[in-house]
């Protein structure tokens, strides 16, 4: 997929890129610490991981990747001045965000009914911390997408969508480390 036009500058808002880098660093540090702790107790981590909803997390990956695609299409619609289309696309992306949170909540409720808390095992301390922090970003992203849908300017929509892509980006790294390895 070659770019149509190249530039030495970062696309979109510089502040959003600083935020993306900061969040990648935070989640990267958290996941690295998680994997470092795993070295001391691989059996305990594997047993703890078996309680997670791996299928639900896989479905959530489809949901986030698709919502990211819709947000990216909304950015292009904003640039083309297609207000109705951009709002429809962002509404769909927000709806998928809500579906993501619903699936995540069902997993947390199930773990809670099994008596699993932050203190149960180091695996859960980190997996809860990282996934709840990520879910908070999903919620913030949904609010941001709703705001930029109202503003409808290309710059605003691109900034809102960039935040949403960051949420997507973090999940595609977090998902295999917490759920698959």
């Amino acid at each position: 997929m070659p770019p149509t036009q190249t530039t030495p500058h970062l696309p979109g808002e510089l502040m959003m890129w600083i935020l993306i880098l900061s969040e990648l660093a935070v989640f990267g540090a958290g996941l690295t610490a998680f994997l470092a702790l795993r070295i001391s107790d691989p059996t305990g981590f594997a047993e703890a991981q078996s309680h997670l909803h791996r299928t639900g997390a896989g479905i959530n990956t489809i949901i986030l990747i698709t919502s990211g695609w819709l947000a990216a299409l909304a950015t292009r619609a904003a640039e083309a001045g297609q207000t109705r289309r951009l709002r429809t696309l962002l509404a769909l992306a927000i709806t998928l965000g809500a579906a993501f949170l619903t699936l995540k909540a069902s997993e947390f409720i199930d773990l809670s009914t099994q008596g699993i808390t932050f203190e149960t095992h180091a695996f859960f301390t980190f997996s809860y911390m990282l996934t709840i922090f990520h879910a908070a970003h999903v919620l913030a992203g949904m609010i941001l997408l709703a705001l930029v849908a109202k503003l409808k300017t290309p710059a605003a929509v691109e900034t809102g969508a960039a935040f949403w892509h960051m949420v997507d980006l973090i999940w595609v790294i977090l998902f295999p480390v917490i759920y698959l390895l």
Partner: protein, 81 residues
């Protein structure tokens, strides 16, 4: 088909590969390295296409390097367990 839709399809294919690998019951170094490589490829598609880093090749190379180093560190720790 727009390049955004192509990117979405590539992401779905990469996810399908990760899912098939996880469902296969495989384990060990090959599994770890493949899963993390697939994660890196997904991240790269999101950065290049959704976030349009493909319009800024210099920055894209920088992100590629950072992402590769992070995933290499993760792979080292995962394989040490």
């Amino acid at each position: 088909m727009t390049h955004l839709t192509q990117s979405w399809l590539i992401l779905m294919a990469l996810l399908a590969a990760s899912t098939a690998l996880a469902a296969s019951g495989l384990a060990g170094a090959g599994f770890t390295l493949t899963v993390l490589t697939l994660a890196g490829l997904k991240a790269r598609v999101i950065l290049a296409s959704y976030l349009r880093l493909n319009t800024a090749p210099g920055w894209q190379r920088g992100f590629d390097l950072g992402l590769t180093l992070l995933l290499a560190l993760m792979a080292t720790l995962a394989l040490a367990a």
